[in-house]
Amino acid sequence: MNATGGQLTPVVRLRHASIGYGDLAVVRDLDFDLMPGEVVAVLGANGSGKSTLVRGILGLAQLQGGTLELFGIQANRFHDRARIGYVPQRHTAGSALPSTVREVVSSGRLPRLGWFHRLGATDRAAVERAVETVGLSDRMKTPVGELSGGQQRRVLIARALASEPDVLVMDEPTAGVDVSHQRSLAATLRRLADHRVTMLVVSHEIGPLVPMVTRAVVLQEGRKRYDGPLLSSMVGASDAVLEGAEHAHHPDEDHEDDVTPGWVADPRLGG
């Protein structure tokens, strides 16, 4: 079930990885590969370590044991951070002082530039493309704080896209966004998936993202309990169901009938 064939270099490769903060290991002994073109959902209850996993990949939590490779390079020797687009878990993109959509998204372009370089024509074009991808081109000059929650999330996605990354790492991109905005957010992400952008998505509410997820990883208490196709039982699942995922096997046809959580039952699921 893992797409490990061929000569492809994994975008992310973890072996026996322990990740945590200070002396505390939150994720333990984890093997994980993210291959180019994959859209992987990381699921798990609160405290299962899914955010820590993402933060470890980004260098925001410490790798305490094992190995982490990014694009085939040891993480501590990997400096081409512009290849990784990060959408943090934030409810808003707002800040103490007003800043426009253009200003916030432009800050995502900086990883492509040297210390003293300013944004040139190419960079401004990339910023504009990123904003266009998330459908906010008419809001370039709007202060981010005046946008709705869903639009602010899209600004954060555009900021990640501005460096033209090879992989998007998203922490709870749909949390706290109302249903109608979740749909346009999901449409944005689907467009990216159609362009073969590799994605790693940590989410409680996998619902709107179901159609594009190619693989699911379920964590429980810092350990991997499941790694395989997304099962319908995982969609909109309560923590209890996710904890039970270790017992799940490949999706059967008859699973399709028994779980219809919320509004996100998708016929493409489990197929």
Binding site: G59, A96, L97, S180
Partner: protein, 318 residues
């Protein structure tokens, strides 16, 4: 104008201009980082430096600069590596700075309550020609660094964790901002005084955020407010014989109150004008799920039994 005939007033006005220009620029990033009070602490630390200068009869501007920059680096390192005790460690440093300053000044033969007051609250008569040269160079360093690195300082102030995830050297940028803040404290010490410096970094930005829609325009507006209030404040201080720092800051706060009232008033007017239109955060679109009706040259979205037509940034009832 007669006040321009006095050399000390010319120096004070030039110093005020430099302060009004640099303090709000640094302050914009401090407010964005939610560190509005850090400049206050550096002013406290700088007082110890000033006192050492007075005690050893060397130039207090240089000793203040050394103390403030050292304090800034220490503060930033404590913030970066310290855990929960960092907050308390900052408090110790700040109060240590001011207590040490007061004690050292009183020990010095040249120290009087009057010149302590002028260091704390500013005085127009104290800026020397050599001070002015130093201030000009320091202000140029601050403005040059900030303008060169503005995009990066913005990224770090706006979302530190994101900046770190994208491989930016967050610690270096934070250290730089702290050092620039310390340098600004020293540029401001003659005219504004060490206890009130922070106000001129923060309050012009508080005014600017009321009227601005972007980070850049916030900074520009804050600089305009900063220059106007510091130059006018120094002038007023000459006529009213009050400490220049207190006068400048009172004036800045008056501007803030005026701006806040005007903004509130205009918002109310705006709200009245907009009655009858419906504003809500939901955005109609292709995939919003609301049924659509083609209505002449546009599309209405059916919403709770009535029809919404997109018109500018809002929806008209059709």
């Amino acid at each position: 104008m007669e006040i321009l005939e006095f050399a000390f007033m010319q120096r004070a006005l030039i110093a005020a201009l430099l302060v009004g220009l640099t303090a709000p620029v640094v302050g914009t990033f401090l407010v964005q980082r939610r560190l509005a009070l850090i400049g206050d602490g550096m002013g406290h630390v700088a007082l110890s430096g000033v006192a050492l200068g007075v005690l050893t009869s060397s130039s207090p501007v240089w000793t203040a600069l050394i103390a403030a920059v050292a304090g800034a680096v220490l503060i930033e390192l404590m913030r970066a590596y310290g855990r929960t005790s960092g907050d308390v460690a900052l408090a110790v440093l700040f109060y240590g700075g001011i207590a040490g300053g007061v004690v050292l000044i009183s020990m010095s033969p040249n120290g009087t309550p009057a010149n302590l007051n002028s260091y704390l609250f500013g005085a127009i008569t104290t800026t020397t020609t050599s001070d002015l040269v130093v201030f000009t160079v320091l202000a140029a360093v601050v403005l040059g660094s900030v303008l060169t690195l503005a995009p990066r300082l913005f990224a770090v102030s706006n979302d530190e964790e994101y900046a770190r995830a994208t491989g930016m050297n967050v610690l270096a940028l934070n250290l730089l901002l702290a050092v620039l803040t310390a340098v600004t404290v020293v540029v401001s010490m003659r005219v504004v005084g060490l206890l009130l410096i922070s106000a001129l970094m923060i309050v012009p930005n508080a005014v600017a955020q009321l009227t601005s829609r972007s980070f850049r325009s916030t900074m520009v507006t804050a600089v305009v407010v900063g220059i106007l209030t510091s130059v006018l404040g120094v002038t007023a201080s000459y006529y009213t014989n009050t400490p220049s720092g207190g006068t400048i800051v009172s004036l800045t706060i008056a501007v803030f109150l005026l701006a806040a009232l005007t903004t509130a008033f205009r918002r109310r007017l705006g709200a009245r004008r907009d009655r009858g239109r419906e504003y809500h955060p939901h955005e109609h679109g292709d995939d919003c799920g609301h049924p659509t009706v083609v209505h002449g040259d546009h599309v209405d979205f059916v919403h709770d039994g009535h029809r919404h037509a997109v018109h500018g940034g809002h929806y008209d009832e059709h």
